[in-house]
């Protein structure tokens, strides 16, 4: 449904997107996972035809995005910021966007009703959007993007700042849309969202997709090793600990993060006694110890040397 190849964009001397490419099939959710400033929003702005690209190709259902209105009519976009007319009611917001996508008459009325039902806002349909809570506005924001049943739905961090109830409602809706065959591009910096929703995940950093695959494939790419976190307090101790630990046999990597070091080692937890012993020998006493299964956060950490939240 969506085919993106070699997207590039620079702002003056700063390269924001550098050769991003991926494909999304019918009924797939592609997660673009990366920290703030990684190039997610710039990428989707080019895919949606909002921002001119320096290089690259974008086709939706075989139609080049440069075809203009014909291509844009296939896309539903839910921007990161809440883009509602707060002095209009929920129904008026939806009716306006429906008309903009050429829905009319009964077709429009039904589409508005379905969208309101889908996001659980039917009882508040005739209230001004300004009277809604942040979570309700997020849901209405989403409804405006799905109203015309787009073939490609672009969701840019749709759960930022929402309450757990609204977040759960958004997840349910996204999954229903996928089941109905909508291709979904989902950007987030929340690892849990990408893990729960996405059929394929691309990890983006500094404008480039550094690794791509299913969750299982990505985790496997860093090995089946457990992640060991050893709390040592902040400061010099962390640097010393890393320099000692990374020389030990079987240790794949060691990094200092906040008040602890993160160690990936062959056979995971089995290496723990030797790690602690080595630290104790130089006077470093662990304040806390945690052994966790690897996840997408670890993939990002291993690939970039930084945490997703950095």
């Amino acid at each position: 449904m969506l085919n993106v190849r070699g997207l590039k964009k620079s702002f003056d001397d700063r390269v924001a997107v550098d050769g991003v490419g991926f494909t999304i099939g019918v009924g797939e959710i592609y997660g673009l996972l990366g920290p703030n400033g990684a190039g997610k929003t710039t990428s989707i702005s080019m895919i949606a035809g909002i921002l001119a690209r320096d290089a690259g190709e974008v086709t939706i259902d075989g139609i080049d995005i440069d075809a203009g209105p014909r291509a844009r009519a296939l896309i539903g976009i839910v921007p990161q910021s809440i883009t509602l007319y707060t002095d209009l009611t929920a129904r008026e917001n939806l009716s306006f966007w429906g008309r903009m996508y050429d829905l009319r008459g009964e077709q429009l009325r039904v589409a508005v009703k379905n969208a309101l039902d889908a996001v659980g806002l039917s009882p508040r349909a005739d209230d001004l959007a300004s009277a809604f809570s942040g979570g309700m506005q997020r849901r209405l924001n989403l409804a405006c993007g799905i109203l015309h049943q787009p073939k490609l739905l672009i969701l840019d961090e749709p759960t930022v700042g929402v309450d757990p109830q609204s977040r759960s409602a958004i997840f349910d809706l996204v999954e229903r849309l996928r089941e109905q065959g909508t291709a979904i591009l989902y950007t987030t910096h929340y690892m849990e969202e990408a893990e729960r929703l996405c059929t394929c995940i691309g990890i983006i950093d500094a404008g480039r997709i550094i690794v791509e695959g299913t969750r299982a494939e990505l985790v496997a790419s860093i090995g089946q090793d457990a992640r060991i976190e050893i709390g040592l307090g902040r400061g010099e101790a962390l640097v010393r600990a890393v320099s000692i630990v990374e020389r030990l046999e079987g240790v794949r990597s060691a990094q200092a993060l906040d008040d602890h070091i993160v160690v990936f080692a062959d056979h995971g937890a089995h290496r723990l006694p030797s790690l602690l012993s080595a630290l104790l020998n130089v006077g470093l006493i662990a304040e806390s110890i945690k052994v966790v299964e690897p996840n997408l956060e670890d993939v990002f950490l291993r690939m970039t040397g930084r945490a997703l939240r950095d």
Partner: protein, 369 residues
């Protein structure tokens, strides 16, 4: 075209819900026109202030003075006797009166001899309505006189004086407040447009199937309709409530259109220089207020040195304002030629401002994506 119309209708619906904007567009200018105009006029009932220089001092000339001071004219015509033609001219030039009637010495004898009566009318340049009233009054007197049927009953001359007297204060403020609040009403619309950029709602429009030109046309159309409606309502309301005569409808309509264009261009230009809607509104309000002072919209330039009117006509709002005054003064003689300069000036400012703002909007869109 359909997309442009949808955007325009949506914007108009939003504007109609902005009670502050409605107050600024309609209520405030009407109330201020009434309050300022009436307070500065002293009495709304005085329709004509007339100086009479009776140089003949005859029974006949005194009859004229009595004629214009008949009981039913009290409150409509305020008569100020003056001693000489020079004093009459000075009263007109100071703006103390709109017109002066000078009855030359020998007036009675000439009437007795069946010769032409010697009555001169001095009139402020922009007081065309006062002139019509005075002329009708004098001719009515001369016809009633009929002392000698063979006498040629006529007014010897009508002398327009510059810089002239004043329009009715309420007429002045009807025009000034309409132009001033037109700019503020449009500013509210331009602010809303900037808010769409600030809140990134505009991104959704850009991502929709609407062509960029349709988005621009829809937004511009809504502003244009808001401005035209505001001007239309103000002109109708001041005509009905205060009896303001704006002039011939075709040139007035043309000037209304270019004035609205000017207001859109000016406010869009100022807003496009700002970082956000709040900053833009503050800066634009300041500049508009300053331009209104320079544009002579708070104080009639009559009686002030010519330089004030020259300065006023250097501002776009001043051009629009004086254009309306010129049309009002010209009465039925007003035409597009009467306001050629204001039409051109306001039109150019409007188009240039809109073009500049559109150019800046492209950069703003790039910045927020």
């Amino acid at each position: 075209m359909r997309h442009a119309w949808l955007i325009c209708l949506k914007d108009l619906r939003q504007r109609s819900r902005d009670h502050n904007a409605l107050t600024v567009a309609i209520v405030a200018p009407l109330v201020l026109t009434a309050l300022i105009g009436m307070s500065l006029s002293g009495s709304q009932g005085i329709g004509l202030r007339l100086a009479i220089a009776d140089l003949d001092q005859s029974a006949l000339s005194r009859q004229f003075v009595d004629f214009v001071q008949r009981p039913w004219l009290i409150g409509i015509i305020a008569v100020r006797p003056v001693a000489s033609r020079q004093a009459a001219a000075a009263a007109v030039e100071r703006g103390d009166v709109e017109c002066a009637v000078v009855i030359d010495s020998g007036f009675a004898n000439a009437a007795d001899d069946g010769k032409s009566q010697m009555i001169e009318i001095l009139v402020a340049r922009k007081a065309q309505f006062a002139l019509q009233g005075t002329r009708a009054l004098v001719q009515d007197f001369l016809q009633r006189l009929a002392a000698n049927p063979s006498a040629t009953h006529r007014i010897a001359s009508v002398t327009p004086l510059s810089p002239g007297g004043s329009l009715r204060m309420i007429d002045f403020f009807a025009a000034s407040m309409t132009v001033l609040f037109l700019t503020f009403a449009i500013l509210a619309g331009v602010r809303a447009l900037q808010s769409e950029v600030d809140s990134r709602t505009i991104l959704r429009l850009v991502a929709s199937p609407a062509e960029p030109l349709a988005i621009l046309a829809g937004k511009f159309g809504a502003l244009l309709l808001v401005g035209l409606t505001q001007m239309g309502v103000m002109i109708a309301a001041t005509s009905i409530l205060f009896g303001t005569h704006w002039g011939n409808s075709i040139p007035v309509a043309a000037l209304v259109a270019t004035s609205v264009l000017m207001a859109i261009g000016l406010t869009a230009f100022l807003m496009s220089l700002a970082k956000n809607a709040e900053q833009g509104t503050a800066v634009a309000a300041l500049v508009i207020s300053l331009l209104s002072v320079i544009g002579g919209q708070f104080l009639p330039s009559q009686g002030l040195p010519d330089v004030f009117e020259t300065l006023a006509r250097l501002t776009p709002n001043g051009q629009a304002f004086y254009g309306f005054l010129d049309l009002s003064a010209a009465g039925s003689n007003g035409s597009l030629a009467t306001i050629a300069q204001p039409l051109l000036f306001t039109g150019i400012v409007g188009v240039a401002g809109i073009a500049f703002a559109a150019f800046r909007a492209r950069s703003a869109l790039r910045r927020i994506t």
